[in-house]
Symmetry: C2
Subunit: 280 residues, 2 copies
């Protein structure tokens, strides 16, 4: 019997819990601040048991999965470092940026000989909360694993196998640069496009009737959760700023080509973008 | 019997022709440089007749619809100004930017007492060519009409009624500013995101496996046709550059807030974008 503690029953954590609970050799304890979420999780068999306090259940755990926002993950890690846990316990998280989390792990967990492996699945929707638990959320999705200095990821992969995700080990710098470019800056761009449009055209209720599918696609992720994304952007600060500088350079190339009526330069820029997009 | 000449049997023109030909009181003549397109249009009943030269059929026309790329539209207008047309003829176009086209109309058509009404439907897909003629292409779509100094759009609307589009009269400056903000700059952004990603991460075949739906949505329109979009961006130059400056300001607000670790500012920026997107 593997005792698994999942902290945070949002969409990511609740989906993890649901999938792992469905395995007969797992005993999954859900931890959340919301009594309502805990009740929902128990009633819908997303977990085997619930508890509102990590410290009440951590000592029994073989695997602890921290599935809260990044700042709460770091607090939980600091708490765990003060508890007496199983020697073999594996601690992991689901935070979408890894630099700060890995730094905290090396600072507080590694000295206690606690094994930590950072985790980040390229999964999740715009929906949030325990009611969006979905047993297919991770299927065929890339699931990054970021080893710390005393971690070893094959055991964790065995436990997480029922997710049917594509596990991939990656180092922290590469992970965060990748996220900045393929996720964080695209979000900033979508937010900025919406804000620029309302600045120029007034409320979106006024111009919404005119927009075609292109604008809707390009701004779809502008509807993301503000607190969560403020956290993500700040926790990946250096990589985000570096990646945004690269984007600005590309935008400047377009402005320059348009300014100069340079048809050839524009066609070259667009052709390169088109080819990359088609090969994605 | 209304004699309608459609110049340019691409997706937009061929769809228009197909819809209008289906009305028994219309006689639709398709004009295109490609013999193959003309043959296809005739064989598939998209038109009543075809001709490879506008000058052979223009004098009979009650309505002339110029559905070629912007630069060709302008050339056709200059040709029409030298021909003897019906006194009552209405000339319109389907170009996605209107400033240059309206300027040419005032310069060459108005002095000849020829009625011109600019047209632009918020319809069309990434597909191109006569084989994509679609009788539902315009259904429920906004179709902008831009009056020139001697035009009157109710007659044209009567002819175009079978499209089932939502017709909306708009002035040229407002039209082009709107397009810059909701279409042109979003395209530039999508192109730039792709180019910035490949600059930082290498070919998209290398990082494509990691990207989630957000990146795919945001860059979908980066797969657009290079020559066409170079034309669009250059023909709407002033409005595009002005709108891109507004976007850059919004991007800078994000960079600044991240630089300053300003959680509150970030949440405010994202909340405003989210609300606008949800009300779209």
């Amino acid at each position: 019997m593997t005792n698994i503690v999942v902290v945070g029953l949002g969409e990511m954590g609740a989906s993890l819990a649901k999938i792992l609970t469905a395995q007969s050799d797992n005993y999954v304890v859900g931890v959340d601040m919301s009594e309502q979420s805990l009740r929902y999780a128990l009633e819908n068999h997303l977990v085997s048991a619930t508890n509102s306090r990590l410290r009440d259940v951590a000592s029994q755990a073989d695997v602890i999965i921290l599935a809260t926002p990044v700042t709460s993950i770091e607090k939980s890690m600091q708490q765990l470092a003060t508890m007496s846990l199983k020697k073999s316990v594996i601690i992991t998280d689901t935070g979408s940026t890894k630099r700060d989390i890995m730094a905290v792990a090396e600072q507080v967990l590694t000295p206690m000989n606690m094994k930590f492996i950072g985790g980040h699945a390229m999964a999740g929707t715009h929906q949030s909360g325990v009611t969006f638990a979905n047993e297919n959320l991770y299927r065929h999705m890339t699931y990054f694993l970021v080893p710390s200095s005393i971690s070893e990821s094959s055991q964790l992969q065995t436990v997480l196998q029922p997710l049917a995700a594509k596990f991939m080990t990656i180092d922290v710098a590469r992970h965060d640069a990748l996220m900045a470019t393929i996720s964080d800056v695209p979000h900033i761009v979508a937010f900025s496009l919406m804000n620029a449009a309302t600045t120029q055209l007034g409320p979106s209720t006024m111009f919404g009737q005119y927009v075609a599918g292109g604008f809707k696609d390009t701004t779809r992720i502008a509807a993301s959760e503000p607190k969560l994304w403020a956290d993500v952007l700040l926790s990946n600060k250096e990589a985000v700023l570096a990646s945004q500088t690269q984007l600005r350079k590309q935008l400047d190339l377009f402005a320059q080509a348009i300014e100069n009526n340079d048809d050839d330069a524009l066609i070259a820029l667009i052709s390169s973008a088109r080819e990359s997009r088609e090969n994605l």
